[in-house]
């Protein structure tokens, strides 16, 4: 078990048609010993390439990767002592579960057959697949194959686990079950883990920290709640959270933000953080919008309800400042599942000043994040 450091990692691909493509651009992440790091981002953001560079399946164009104290750039994959779990499971179809799991130990260690057998048995018990030892992958369900794939990684007792969307092929119920199980196993084993996903639920719930990539560039590394409440830029704010944060691009006029639809009066703190920026993006999370309140203050607006998406526990209400328009621009507010609302109605919504985020529209950097004072108590409750 060891610390894993990505030190200014860059990966460039050469394409005959398009010339050089930078897949991963100067990414640096320090992953502590035993840490569970989630690498998340949209498709094609370079997260899988980063993982494959750590595994040794892709060469590193620039930068250094260190596992423990040693630089592993020039080590071949088989010498790196990492174990990878693939989205497709990548089980050997002609081998039984036992053979699949012992293959790595046979190839990479000098262990005796008895020792290998003991370790395989122990890992299968841990994964709850001890009954399947003599079956072949084709005779297993997707969930069972997934367990074998994880077991195959665990049995190696590697310095680091590398997981490439391992739960993506499972159905929703099994996925959430495996999510918890994976977390538990990683915690028990204490093996440094990089987990690649595009699913921001997995990102929020599973890891110690999240690293968010976009276009090959590292956007932010932080705990899930840091990334959620204190995003460093517009991309992170929009990517983390479901439904996503609402954004309004506005002009600064005195101590107000002005847009075609509405105006927003800024507090002293907001005004200070904005400085001389004149185009500002105002962001607010759907759950922070107060819906149907009696308010006539400078942060309350009359809006029309466009669409309602009931989700049981809560409802997503799509509302708009311009209810008369044929194709109105909407934003989302969430209300409790038991509250009624009807499309076409007009209601009052409030944007509490302590809950808003402000971003520079040109650079997309964060100017101001929401205040966490009001959320401290709630945090303990919502954290799972």
């Amino acid at each position: 078990m060891a610390e894993l450091q990505l030190d200014h990692i860059t990966k460039t691909f050469h394409d005959d048609d398009e010339g050089e493509i930078v897949a991963v651009d100067d990414v640096s992440i320090d992953i502590a010993d035993g840490e569970f790091l989630i690498l998340v981002g949209p498709s094609g953001c370079g997260k899988s390439t980063t993982l494959r560079m750590v595994a040794g399946l892709e060469s590193i164009t620039e930068g250094e990767i260190r596992l423990g104290e040693a630089v592993i750039n020039d080590k071949r994959p088989q010498e790196r002592d990492t174990a990878m779990v693939f989205q497709s499971y990548a089980l050997y179809p002609h081998m039984t579960v036992r053979e699949n799991m012992s293959f790595g130990l046979e190839e990479s260690t000098d262990l005796s057959d008895e020792a290998i057998d003991a370790r395989v048995t122990e890992s299968t018990r841990m994964m709850g697949i001890e009954d399947l030892l003599d079956r072949k992958p084709a005779e297993l369900s997707g969930g069972q194959q997934q367990r074998v794939a994880l077991g195959r990684a665990i049995v190696r007792e590697p310095e680091a686990f590398l997981m490439d969307e391992p739960l993506a092929n499972l159905d929703a119920k099994l996925r959430s079950q495996m999510r918890t199980e994976l977390q538990r196993i990683q915690e028990d084993l204490g093996v440094t883990t990089i987990y690649v996903t595009h699913d921001q639920t997995e990102a929020m719930t599973m890891g110690d920290r999240i690293a968010i990539l976009n276009d090959g560039i590292l956007q932010q590394v932080g705990t899930p709640l840091e990334c959620y409440h204190e995003p460093e830029n517009l991309f992170v704010a929009g990517f983390i959270g479901e439904p996503s944060m609402n954004f309004f691009e506005m002009r600064l006029e005195g101590d107000r933000l002005v847009d075609d639809g509405f105006e927003y009066a800024l507090t002293e703190a907001h005004r200070e953080s904005i400085g001389t920026t004149d185009r500002v993006v105002l962001g607010i999370r759907p759950e922070d919008i107060e819906v149907g309140v009696d308010g006539s203050g400078s942060h309350h607006y009359e809006v029309g309800i466009d669409v309602i998406e009931p989700r049981g526990d809560e409802n997503n209400v799509h509302v708009t400042f311009e209810p008369a328009a044929a194709d109105p621009e909407t934003f989302v507010a969430t209300i409790g599942g038991m509250r009624q609302a009807t499309p076409g109605e007009t209601i009052t919504v409030g944007f509490p000043p302590e809950a808003i985020h402000l971003f520079d529209a040109a650079t997309e950097r964060t100017l101001h994040n929401r205040s966490l004072e009001t959320i401290e108590d709630v945090e303990v409750v919502t954290q799972q």
Binding site: Q78, M84, F86, Q87, A90, Y92, P93, F103, G104, R156
Partner: protein
């Protein structure tokens, strides 16, 4: 649905009758040469002359002698053919498989060029290489090279034939295996690399076991081709003791009288091994052609 209507409707279904009639006619059409051959091979010479070829032998005209005679005259040809066809088949399939592995699951410069050359190799007709081939084997005098090992030196022409067929079979085998290997999940190979396996181990422990259906296809295809070849054999073999079975069969025609019963029996004996290969590898062959592989 159709069974229901067949049960309740007593009128004859003319389209169905026409279909079966056509199928039966086609079966008769395709099987008649085989049937005629078989019947001819079990008739006496007189029986052959007095009856139509596809009529079974009349009493007194039945004979097993043509088969015994043909087998006797083909015996050494059969042995020689087995001696060169089996090694050539196995070698071309194995080398083709390894080449295909090198062309699909590893990365190196010039792969495209090698593949192009191999594909071009498939389309070189036998006839166009006959002269260079015989020149080549004259220059590379295997007989004197192997003179220290007399049993091999005696069979040097067969060894030359083995090598020629192996070389000629590699391109098509490579292409067959390449198509199969391209369909193998590349993350499985990557998993094996991370598991500590070397390129050779990955081939031996993962690729090879997954290629068995494809080997059946390549073996059947190559064996049939090599066994049935006459052209290369005529060019490369001059010593009668090295005659392969197709050459011996050709010599059954005789010079004065055509003994069709012996020729037919000989043809069946010669074709038998290719039939056996189909039967032995049939199941894997079907799997390989169906493209399963896993």
């Amino acid at each position: 649905m159709s069974t229901f209507s067949a049960l309740t409707d007593n009128r004859p279904d003319w389209s169905r009758i026409a279909l079966y009639a056509t199928l039966l006619a086609m079966i008769a059409f395709y099987l008649s040469p085989l049937e005629s051959g078989l019947m001819t091979s079990i008739k006496t010479q007189a029986g052959f002359q007095q009856t139509s070829p596809f009529v079974p032998p009349l009493p007194g005209q039945f004979a097993i002698e043509p088969w015994i005679e043909a087998f006797g005259r083909l015996q050494s040809g059969l042995v020689n053919s087995v001696l060169f066809a089996i090694p050539a088949t196995i070698l071309s399939a194995t080398i083709g498989s390894i080449t295909a592995y090198g062309l699909t699951n590893t990365k190196w410069r010039g792969q495209a060029l090698v593949l192009m050359v191999l594909i071009a190799g498939i389309f070189i007709p036998y006839q166009s290489v006959l002269v260079p081939l015989s020149r080549f084997w004259t220059i590379v005098d295997l007989g004197s090279l192997l003179a220290v090992i007399p049993p091999l030196a005696d069979r040097s022409e067969l060894i030359a034939l083995t090598i020629t067929h192996t070389a000629y079979g590699i391109p098509i085998c490579t292409l067959l295996f390449r198509a199969h290997y391209k369909s193998i999940d590349s993350s499985m190979i990557e998993a094996a690399r991370l598991d500590g396996a070397t390129i050779a181990t990955i081939y031996y422990r993962i690729i090879l076991p997954l290629s068995i259906p494809m080997f059946a296809v390549a073996l059947i295809y190559q064996f049939t081709n090599i066994w049935n070849d006459l052209l290369f054999a005529i060019v490369l073999i001059s010593d009668n003791s090295n005659d392969v079975v197709t050459m011996s069969l050709q010599k059954l025609t005789g010079s004065m009288v055509s003994q069709y019963n012996i020729q037919m029996a000989g043809a069946f004996i010669t074709a038998l091994p290719t039939l056996l290969v189909y039967i032995v590898f049939g199941e894997q062959f079907a799997e390989g052609v169906a493209g399963g592989g896993t």
